[in-house]
Symmetry: C2
Subunit: 253 residues, 2 copies
C-alpha cells in the first residue's frame, strides 16, 4: 500500500562524528545536517525542513540522535530506512523510522538527553579504536570523581561549564543523573561517564568530563567542583575533554 497523506516522521540516527564539522549546517563544511538535507532532497525531490533533538559538536558521535519532519510519503514506510541509507554516506545510518503524533517535534518535544563519555584509562589504547574513546594515561580515582559528580546533579546555573561562543539565554539546566562505571565496549574495558539532563549548554558535557578528570587525577579536590559551579566562571572549570569520546545515546520525548 502506498500512502500519500502527510505524515509526521520520526527518524533515529547513528553517526560516526569523526569526519563531520558537527551537526549544524555551516557554509562549505561537511555537516550531518547538510548530508541529511542532500539525501532528503534526492528522495522527496524538494527541500525538507527537519528538526533535530541535539546539535552535536564537531567529532561527537551519536547512537540515538532523533530528527523529525512532515512529509508526503510516497514510498512504503518499511522501505524508507533502506532507501535513505542508500542515499546517505556510510558514516550516517538511519536505524529506525516511526510515524509520530502530529505534534511531535524532535527538537521542541525533547524532554531529556542522555550522553555517554568513554575513557580508555591506560597506556595503550588499541590503535583501531583510538577515535572511539579518549585515552587518559594517568590513573583515575573513581570514588573521588563520583563524589564530585554529585554536586552537579539537580537544577543549577552551569555558566562555569559553558564554552565561549554559546548562544545567549539562560544557563540554567537540570542534570538528572551522572553515573561513572566500567563498561565493556568494542571488546575492551572503558570508563563510561553517563550524563542525563533536560538540556546541555555549548560543550557542557565535555567541560564536565574535563573537570571530573581533574578530580580523578587528584589535581582538584571533589569539593572544588561545588565552588566551580558557584563562581559562574568558565576559567575555573577543567579543560574541555576531546570530542572523540562523546556519544549522544538517547533522547526522550
Amino acid at each position: 500500500m502506498i500512502r500519500c497523506h502527510v505524515v509526521n516522521l520520526k527518524l533515529t540516527l547513528q553517526y560516526d562524528g569523526t569526519d563531520f564539522s558537527g551537526f549544524a549546517a555551516q557554509p562549505g563544511k561537511r555537516t550531518i545536517r547538510s548530508e541529511l538535507e542532500k539525501a532528503l532532497l534526492k528522495l522527496f525531490k524538494k527541500p525538507v525542513k527537519f528538526f533535530a533533538a541535539s546539535r552535536t559538536d564537531a567529532g561527537v558521535h551519536a547512537l540515538g540522535q532523533v530528527i523529525s519532519f512532515n512529509s508526503k510519503l510516497k514510498i512504503q514506510k518499511a522501505k524508507l530506512r533502506y532507501v535513505l541509507n542508500n542515499l546517505l554516506p556510510e558514516d550516517i545510518r538511519v536505524v529506525k523510522t516511526e510515524e509520530a503524533g502530529g505534534k511531535f517535534n524532535a527538537r521542541f518535544s525533547a524532554k531529556s538527553k542522555k550522553y555517554e563519555y568513554l575513557i580508555f584509562n591506560g597506556g595503550d589504547i588499541p590503535v583501531l579504536l583510538r577515535k572511539l574513546a579518549w585515552q587518559v594515561k594517568l590513573p583515575l580515582k573513581l570514588s573521588a570523581m563520583r563524589r564530585a559528580a554529585k554536586y552537579l546533579i539537580g537544577k543549577h546555573d552551569f555558566t562555569s561549564f559553558c564554552a565561549a561562543g554559546a548562544r545567549e539565554g539562560s544557563k540554567v539546566r537540570t542534570i538528572y543523573r551522572i553515573v561513572l562505571r566500567k563498561v565493556k565496549r568494542y571488546g575492551i574495558t572503558l570508563l563510561a561517564i553517563e550524563i542525563e539532563g533536560n538540556g546541555f549548554l555549548y560543550r557542557m558535557v565535555r567541560n564536565i568530563v574535563g573537570t571530573l578528570l581533574e578530580v580523578g587525577t587528584g589535581r582538584f579536590e571533589p569539593d572544588r567542583v561545588k565552588e566551580v559551579l558557584k563562581v559562574k566562571d568558565r576559567r575555573k572549570a577543567g579543560r574541555c575533554a576531546p570530542s572523540r569520546g562523546l556519544y549522544l545515546m538517547k533522547v526522550d520525548h
Copy 2:
C-alpha cells in the same frame, strides 16, 4: 645505562590502514614507510634503512607488522618504544621493541605470515565499526566455504589469485592453513578467515577471500575453486575483497 654499540633492532607495529596509501613508499602519498622514515630520521638524526616483513596494501590494517634495522642506539632501549610513539602519527604504534640476532632481517628472515579477514555478515554493521570489517549482507554458507578453502591449502601456483601489477617472478606459494570461524571482535560477532602461508602475491589474500565469498553465497560451487586454481587466470576467480577487512596478524621468523 646508555648503550652505544650497533644493535639489530626488531620492532613490532600496529597500524590502522584506513588513511594510508599502503606500506611501500610512493611519491607524494602518505604511506606507513614514509611516516616511519620521518620518525626514525628525527630520532637518529640521519636516514635509517629498515626492512619490513610485509608490504601491506592501501587500507590494510596490521596488528603484527615487523620491521628491523641496525642502529647505534643512544637512548635506553626501554625508552625507544615511548620515544618513537611520540614521534609517530597516532595511527601507527610501536607495540614491542627487541634486540634481534645479528642476521635477523624482518623481510628476508620471514618464514610465515598470518593474515585475518573480518566479515560482518548481516544487515547493519555498527556505524562506528564500519571501517574494521567488510559488511556482507547475503547469508553465507560456511560449510561450503570451508570445503572450497581446502583446495587452496598446500603448495600451488596462485596466478589466478594474483592481481595485475604484481612483480615478476614465481607465483608459487605455500598456504599452511585457512581457518573460517565466528569470532568476537570489537564486541560483535564476525566471521574471521585466517590464512597462513610462506608468502602472498599481490592482493592474493583478498582475492582468495572474494572467491570464498562467491562460494559462501552460492554463486560458485566449492569444486570450482579447484578449477580456478588450475587455469592460472585471474579472471576466473572471484572479485577482490575490500582492504578494510584485512589484517596482518603475525609474522614468524
